[in-house]
């Protein structure tokens, strides 16, 4: 990569690069070391992702100055490249591969957001929660053999994705447990038959569309 040293920054292990809720105008590309992306949920620091060299974070800052949706904290000594909207074009000019990688990242983000939009626009709470499981299954490699799926997700995660308060989410999940649709383990939630949930969500979406048309 050419002429990028002027954008380089180094961080010590366990140092905060930015906090969730801070306004952001920079995004980062990891050169060496690892960065964890965390969010405080309730009274727990939840690790959303661990990023490696070559990966970006904080990229929403290229689009607009929104508050950070999670904190970025180094796991070890880290070297990163820091960019902003002002110097972004010059970055791409000299390094088209970075631009291509960002295009790939944006493609995934657009898909994720569209998927989330679909969950949030379902009127029915049971439908929203079921659709979160369907979405999680779409992110896993396809498995034709069995309808059983196990997801590394918590009550907070499901509530967050479904856009509903944790209390309401718990009621829906408890109901799904008593109807033997899911099993809640310590760190995972097991869906007994994902195909049943896919059918359930489709029928909810169809009946909602029919109602809206009437």
């Amino acid at each position: 990569m050419e002429n990028l040293e002027r954008f380089a920054k180094t961080f010590n292990p366990d140092e905060v690069i930015f906090f969730e809720h801070e306004p952001g105008d920079s995004f980062y590309l990891i050169q060496s070391g690892q960065v964890k992306i965390v969010r405080i949920m309730g009274d727990i620091e939840k690790i959303l992702d661990i990023l490696n060299p070559g990966e970006f974070f904080g990229e929403m800052a290229i689009l607009e100055e929104t508050a950070r949706s999670a904190s970025a904290i180094t796991l070890d000594s880290c070297s990163v490249l820091e960019f902003n909207r002002a110097n972004f074009s010059s970055l791409i000019q000299g390094n088209p591969q970075i631009g291509i990688n960002l295009l790939k990242l944006f493609s995934r983000r657009i898909f994720d957001q569209k998927r989330r939009f679909m969950i949030l626009t379902l009127d029915d709470l049971d439908g929203k929660v079921a659709d979160v499981f369907v979405m999680l299954s779409e992110l896993q490699p396809p498995d034709e053999e069995s309808g059983i799926r196990e997801f590394k997700a918590s009550l907070d995660d499901i509530g967050h994705w479904a856009g509903i308060p944790v209390g309401q989410c718990k009621d829906v999940l408890d109901n799904m447990v008593s109807n033997q649709k899911i099993v809640i383990n310590k760190d995972t939630i097991k869906v007994n038959n994902i195909n049943e949930l896919i059918r359930f969500v489709s029928s909810k979406r169809r009946s909602q569309e029919n109602n809206e048309r009437d």
Partner: protein, 317 residues
């Protein structure tokens, strides 16, 4: 392998919605439409592809299934790239990368806003409170460097913020060495409990009397230190004065003087007693307290106010 040219007849489908994808297309000749359901309205819509325009890019680059169906409307010719071929082509064309980046970022910004708009305000969050709570979280969990770092960033971002007084106190306690001791139990504390007298005094300065009242009452219930308690009681009297509750303020200050006759703020207490009696129309008592207060207020910011009130009242008696 080089990109290949493929001819399609009308009504044929280049790809269906839901198909997995490993190819990117550019329209060389003819007419192609992308059919999809509009997220906002739920209506089926069709976008026409312009000549020379790429399509199917996001699904191929993001390794997702297509979220639209590409329908051929007239005899057409389409160039089909593999992801690798497309990337090689982009590497030599910065302008195209930037142009696509602009298109993608506009789409992402739009859908991001739509999603944020659907989230209830408590889930979308209050960034000021959020940052303050992150500092509190790390402090509770004894991760002091991160707590200090969060509070410092709060201070820069919200110098006059709602929690500025609490943040300031926390950062001052770092210098005093008490930051690492207080608030160190792992149990999360209720925000309304154990707010310090200093913070309550800041609430009063900012006119947030209800919060001050709640904090002081709770503090007085739990405090065992006499000095702290006497200061809390003084602040309570001050708060009631500012709330224009003269009778309650007089009761509070009178009780305080009886129990702490050598209160370090005796001059101020006597001034506020005078101030509140004046509000009730009892000028004689007001003048009496002002005369007692004056010698004790020498050098205090209230001294001039006391002198002015005294001359005003004596002129009127």
């Amino acid at each position: 392998m080089a990109p290949k040219s493929v001819k399609y007849s009308p009504n044929s489908i280049i790809y269906f919605k839901g198909d997995s994808s490993n190819a990117i297309y550019v329209l060389k000749k003819g007419k192609v439409g992308l059919n999809y359901k509009d997220l906002q309205t739920g209506q089926e819509v069709q976008d026409l592809i312009q000549m020379g325009e790429f399509f199917g890019v996001k699904a191929a680059l993001g390794h997702y299934t297509h979220d639209e169906t590409a329908v051929v409307l007239q005899d057409s010719e389409v160039i089909q790239f593999s992801v690798g071929e497309f990337e090689s082509m982009l590497k030599g064309n910065n302008r195209l990368v930037l142009k696509m980046m602009k298109v993608f970022s506009t789409q992402l910004r739009r859908i991001h806003r739509q999603v944020q708009g659907l989230l209830s305000s408590d889930l979308a969050g209050n960034p000021e409170l959020g940052l303050f709570e992150i500092g509190q979280y790390y402090r509770r969990h004894k991760d002091y460097q991160k707590a200090i770092s969060a509070f410092n960033r709060y201070k820069v971002l919200y110098p006059r913020g709602y929690y500025a007084a609490q943040v300031e106190e926390a950062l001052q306690s770092v210098d005093q060495g008490t930051f690492y001791k207080s608030n160190s139990n792992s149990e999360p504390q209720s925000q309304n409990d154990q707010v310090s007298v200093f913070i309550c005094s800041k609430y009063i300065e900012r006119g947030n009397y209800q919060e001050a009242l709640r904090g002081l009452t709770s503090y007085m219930k739990n405090s065992v230190n006499q000095d702290d308690r006497s200061e809390a009681e003084y602040q309570l009297g001050l708060c009631l004065t500012k709330m224009e509750k003269p009778q309650e303020a007089i009761k509070q200050f009178t009780s305080l003087v009886k129990r702490f006759p050598k209160h370090p703020k005796l001059g101020q207490i006597l001034y506020y007693l005078a101030f509140n009696y004046e509000k009730l129309g009892d000028k004689t008592k007001a003048v009496g307290f002002l005369k007692k207060a004056m010698p004790l207020l020498a050098g205090d910011s209230l001294s001039q106010k006391a002198a002015n009130l005294l001359s005003e009242l004596e002129g009127g008696i």
